[in-house]
């Protein structure tokens, strides 16, 4: 899916847990997520902390979208 969006000319960032699959299928901008059932959350945190975590991941995703890449790149969440 990620490739079809890219092919349509829209920059896309793939936020996913299993980054090796993302690498194999050919995403160019990749941001690692938390876990498969909750990629952008962590139910063991308080709601406020969980949202903060989500915000961090998405901030990294926006950075990825604003960064030129010349190949497959994983942007680690800081």
């Amino acid at each position: 899916m990620v490739k079809e969006i890219e092919r349509a000319g829209i920059p896309v960032v793939h936020v996913c847990t299993v980054t090796p699959i993302s690498m194999t299928v050919g995403a160019n901008r990749i941001v690692p997520a938390i876990a498969i059932p909750h990629p952008l959350g962590n139910p063991s945190l308080t709601p406020a902390d969980e949202k903060q975590l989500r915000r961090k991941i998405l901030t990294t995703a926006l950075d990825a979208l604003s960064t030129e890449v010349d190949g497959q790149t994983i942007f680690e969440v800081k």
């Binding site: 847990t17 299993v18 980054t19 090796p20 699959i21 194999t24 299928v25 690692p32 938390i34 876990a35 498969i36 059932p37």
Partner: protein, 426 residues
């Protein structure tokens, strides 16, 4: 470890006033079994039914299938740490009611339970059309969480299978096989000229309806570890999953793991089966990396010449499979992997979610997306209410004439990745 397994051939299941095994017939008093199942306060009602090979019966939604077994001698008893006291099993004697199975059904938990047809074309795709099945249909109490409900049914099914297994303890088996699994030093000394072979079994461990229990431990909380294959025959590994029923191991599959059987078959002849490793398939990437590192470390440490790796499931576990394969190959150990495919209904899509050139020896259990039309059968045990929702079903799956069109991924055990069946693809 040395385990003697006595197989008692079962040729029918009948209800009776007294439960017993006599002349190959398993007689069951369902009132007693009902009382046993309802010991669990989460369950409201339970009813029993028998489905025999060739009968026009559809069983769905199937959660687990369990073979009745019990120990005659030796430490512990079957299903240790879950149904019986925790003890190291895998030695002594075990009796099996071969040809009989307990099949659990009930209101759907997720989307993920399967179909077992006892007759028609669907019967060719599931091994449980060939067993005499005591089908147990559970009704949970209201207001249970999904996790509570799943656990209650899982345990009740095991209890029933164990109770039936105990009926065979004093019966003379039709056939006895002995499985020996010595210490690694002894094993190497015993067959110095034969290649040392291990088996890496990957276990699904991804949450509700995706879990596997080893001696009662949820496998996702464990690191890659080792045990004797004979322990698995005694129910050390239990299924808590049936997601996309085609390629999830039921408890029955674990009890009768075909890779273990076929490795034992060649043991001492062409190879030396001396290592059984189990690992998980977790939802965190770090876990995947850690577990596959550990698998490769163990294989390297044991200095094996080759391993068979079997996967459970598909999608993200394809990554665990590829990581295991790649890292083990990098230790200069030969691998063969067993998996199944999701190549689309027309068979033209990419079959796996992950790939690596090192995975050059692959055995496939078939394309789970293949569409099949299952004819109307005379009787349904369970309910067809969820047919369109289960994995492999879709809106319109259930035809007016009672036939159903689904992908074979909805059929319990159709593309089992232990290589339990003969289905394949090219």
């Amino acid at each position: 470890m040395k385990l003697e397994v006595g197989y008692i051939q079962i040729r029918d299941i009948q209800t009776a006033d007294k439960s017993s095994v006599k002349d190959g017939i398993l007689y069951v008093n369902t009132k007693e079994l009902e009382a046993l199942a309802l010991e669990d306060e989460h369950l409201k009602a339970v009813c029993f039914d028998v489905a025999r090979p060739g009968e026009s019966i559809r069983i769905t939604p199937v959660k687990d299938v369990i073979e009745p077994r019990a120990k005659v001698e030796g430490p512990g008893d079957v299903f240790p740490g879950v149904i019986t006291k925790l003890n190291t099993v895998g030695s002594g004697k075990t009796h099996v009611l071969q040809g009989a199975a307990v099949v659990t059904v009930g209101k759907i938990v997720g989307f993920q339970e399967g179909i077992v047809d006892m007759a028609g074309i669907g019967a060719e795709y599931t091994p449980f059309s060939a067993t005499y099945n005591l089908v147990v249909d559970f009704t949970p109490k209201d207001g249970l969480t999904a996790h509570e409900y799943e656990a209650a049914i899982r345990k009740a099914g095991l209890k029933i299978a164990y109770a039936l297994g105990k009926l065979g303890v004093n019966v003379t088996p039709d056939e006895v096989k002995t499985y020996e699994y010595p210490s690694i030093m002894e094993a190497i000394k015993k067959y110095p000229g034969l290649p040392r072979v291990g088996y890496v079994q990957m276990l699904q461990s991804q949450g509700l309806l995706h879990d596997t229990y080893v001696y009662g431990v949820d496998m996702k909380q464990s690191l890659t570890t080792m045990l004797s294959p004979t322990e698995i025959m005694d129910g050390a590994i239990l299924s808590g999953n049936c997601v996309s029923a085609c390629d999830k191991n039921t408890t029955y599959h674990h009890q009768n793991n075909p890779v273990i059987e076929d490795l034992f078959e060649e043991h001492g002849k062409t190879l030396n089966f001396c290592a059984m490793i189990i690992t998980n398939e977790n939802v965190y990437l770090a876990d995947k990396e850690r577990s596959s590192d550990w698998t490769a470390k163990l294989v390297d440490y044991l200095d094996l010449d080759g391993v068979i790796i079997s996967q459970e499931g598909f999608g993200n576990p394809d990554t665990d499979l590829i990581m295991n394969c790649k890292k083990i190959e990098e230790t200069d150990t030969h691998t063969v992997i067993i998996t199944d495919e999701y190549a689309g209904r027309d068979g033209t899509s990419q079959s796996l979610a992950d790939a690596d050139p090192k995975a050059d020896a692959l055995v496939t259990a078939g394309n789970a997306n293949q569409v099949i039309t299952l004819p109307k059968l005379d009787r349904v045990i369970g309910t067809l209410d969820y047919t369109e929702k289960i994995a492999g079903g879709y809106a319109g799956s259930l035809e007016k004439d009672g036939s159903i069109t689904v992908e074979i991924q909805a059929i319990t055990g159709s593309t089992n990745e232990l290589g339990f069946s003969r289905l394949s693809a090219r």
